[in-house]
Symmetry: C2
Subunit: 441 residues, 2 copies
């Protein structure tokens, strides 16, 4: 055992998990380290935030996924530093872990464009805790509006601003539209949930900028049918407890909104920065480490960087997007390269990302998709989306349950996880002004 090749994988996301699975029967000692005990199916986080799914339904315990791999141990811990010469990583609690080959798949973190204080008012979708907080905020907002007698206050509670019109922002806006127009339709007596204003704000010139323009236009139409308003060409300049200030060519505008969700930038994680420093690696915008064509860090052939942290490019020189497929393929590539080297073979050809396409769902039975060069929208795109997402959810159990939840949601517009639990980072219902409640209205 003691002289087997030691592979350490940092991160149990898509990249790390697929790398680990690719090493299943390899004669290596494999350690997977993550600060979470579960793998998260990140593309469905917006469904947790909007009450369709419970966190447990999009998560799979990393131990459970890998427990039949006898060569693998899973470690719960946060990696904070690396010594690339001594070849070991160190954890927050002081433990160290040596490696012969290292695969770094630690991903990115949310960036507030230099305004970290905005995170207090505008949670993002990075963690289960944040997604639950967003759900809390959305549901409390309708409750507070129902109880408010002041029209301006009510309007502020019923205004939802989503910052960032990439796939996540678009999917959130669509799900919110569904909630307002269908899920909560009969639930209130003083307000009509369909009066909710859903604003999708982005500084760019169109939503879904990485999609073909025709699909962007179709997505706009689908969103508008669900009552969402798209505000492109708008920079956010301020976020606080009472709302958002935006700016366009015409000047500043203040939007009173008690619920703001951040779906905009990503940045380098703290460990990513540390890794770059220790290896003298080049950091390129938006916070990624320049890697060799074989995904290793220059001068450190044993350190692979995959997924959101790697600055790897398509043949045309454009950056690979921060999506699951890039991480998955990168993980498999790194594992394959390690195995080849162990056999004394030459490295594989440079990593080549096979782009299967992009997909975003917009409410019930509608989506836009750009698959293998085919552009789809509406119901056919939604079916493709359904199929692909189900196939990729790691655990069979989750897959079936999610499928059934969706079946119900599609048929009934009922959402199975509309719980207000824990606390939100913003003004809660009980802190709002007292009001005289009339039982008759």
């Amino acid at each position: 055992m003691a002289d087997r090749h030691r592979v350490v994988i940092l991160g149990g996301g898509f990249g790390g998990l697929y790398a680990a699975k690719a090493l299943k029967r390899a004669p290596v000692d494999l350690t997977v380290i993550d600060r979470r005990n579960y793998h998260l199916f990140q593309p469905l986080m917006y469904q947790v935030a909007t009450g369709s799914l419970s966190p447990g339904e999009i998560a799979a315990p990393i131990r459970g996924v890998l427990n039949r791999q006898k060569n693998t141990r899973v470690l719960l811990g946060e990696v904070v530093d690396i010594d690339p010469v001594a070849k070991e990583v160190s954890l927050k609690d002081g433990a160290t872990c040596p490696y012969d080959s290292l695969i770094v798949a630690t991903g990115s973190k949310t960036a507030y464009f230099g305004h970290d204080d905005w995170s207090k008012w505008a949670p993002s979708l990075k963690s289960v805790e944040e997604a639950t907080m967003i759900r809390h905020k959305i549901l409390v907002a309708f409750e507070a509006a129902e109880r408010s007698a002041d029209p301006a206050e009510r309007k502020a509670w019923m205004t939802f601003v989503i910052v960032g019109a990439g796939a996540t922002g678009v999917e959130l806006a669509g799900a919110l539209g569904e909630i307002a127009h269908r899920t909560l339709k009969h639930d209130f007596r003083s307000i009509n949930p369909a009066d909710a204003r859903i604003l999708l704000v982005d500084a760019g010139s169109r939503i879904l900028p990485t999609y073909p323009e025709t699909l962007s236009r179709k997505a706009v139409k689908s969103l508008e049918r669900l009552g969402a308003t798209i505000r492109t060409g708008m920079m956010v300049t301020e976020i606080d407890a009472e709302g958002v200030t935006v700016k366009d060519d015409a000047g500043h505008e203040r939007i009173a909104a008690r619920t703001v969700i951040w779906a905009a930038g990503v940045a380098m994680s703290d460990f990513g920065r540390q890794l770059a420093q220790r290896t003298n690696a080049e950091v390129l915008k938006p916070g990624r480490i320049r890697v060799n064509p074989n995904l290793t860090i220059p001068n450190f052939p044993d350190i692979f960087v995959i997924g959101d942290l790697a600055y790897a490019t398509k043949p045309d020189g454009t950056l690979l997007p921060g999506v699951a497929q890039v991480a998955i393929q990168g993980g498999a590539y790194a594992a394959k390269t390690i195995l080849k080297r162990m056999k004394g073979q030459r490295d594989s050809k440079p990593f080549h990302y096979f782009d299967k396409g992009d997909l975003a769902v917009i409410g019930r039975g509608a989506a836009v998709a750009n698959i293998f060069g085919f552009q789809l929208s509406g119901f056919p795109a939604w079916l493709v989306w359904l199929f692909i997402h189900l196939m990729y959810i790691v655990e069979f159990q989750s897959r079936l349950l999610v499928f059934i939840e969706w079946g119900f949601l599609y048929l009934t517009s009922n959402r199975g996880a509309m719980l207000i639990t824990g606390s939100a980072g913003s003004k809660s219902l009980n802190e709002s002004k007292p009001l005289q409640m009339t039982a008759h209205d």
Copy 2:
């Protein structure tokens, strides 16, 4: 509308919800007030705490359940006071709500026998937040044991103490036994989860004291098969970060345990106390309000108290147990009485609780049941348990999903919701002593 009879129901638990449903088509103005936006299927909370179910699967939004009742409005808020002469309740935020008839179904809270500080170390199963915290503690304990090099510390992490051997405690012990012996079987490399010590501690002379003695003995056998140890006749005298001190006739004993779960006493809620004071009602142990045979408070015929807060008795004078069935039947009775009075009819006969029996499940495919006087144990009892619980879960969607989760659990011993989220109130993994990790072992 304005002169319709106003019924206010406090609490959206079993009692409140069934009272509200019984008034579905009644010519009343009905208001249901709860500080939570969801009804919780409390009997399955132990499955959330042990990672079989997600909170969303045992919860149904109160608005959703009642949204087709046009005479009903749901209010999210905490009732803190009552004026029984002016006939209105007041909420924490200062709002008031007048009533003609009031149904109080606010339940009980956890009691730590005068040691409220124990709650920090020994969460109970009253709320979703606590259940999630327990799940967190259980999973982190195995993780910490896996990483610990100190045998004493490892043993403390792998010792689980459950205080209270009623149905909840027994079910928790059974589920923990399942986790240790089946669910986590292949997940670790340094520890064997089956080495976990599960101690079920109770001051009484036998477990499940409200069940026939033969069933208690059968439950003991089932639990021991799952590796649990039963310690009856043991008083808990201290709980802290490091463990539990217990006392029996032989003297004190210290048990080093990092995970302690409280499944013992209940007490009167703050609002219950306030209600008793305002109405000069008699409070009897264990913190319940003495009610008339028709469940009203003496001298206040318009205030019904149902469920855990009411001191109502069987014909033989013994107190009705704090179970869902008592609340459900009480809620239906109160609603019926209100309707009769509105029609000018005389009150119904005194409330009579129809005892359908008791059921506790102990791990996979085993339970004890005392149904309509029949005593069942083992697999037949488990089937009965499964059937009854599924039938009573309020929402159809939850019912089906829970059923499928259980199907998987039964077939595979996989649990669908083994997430460590949020934070636990106790020592977390990162606060434990740093330890040198050896990658080879």
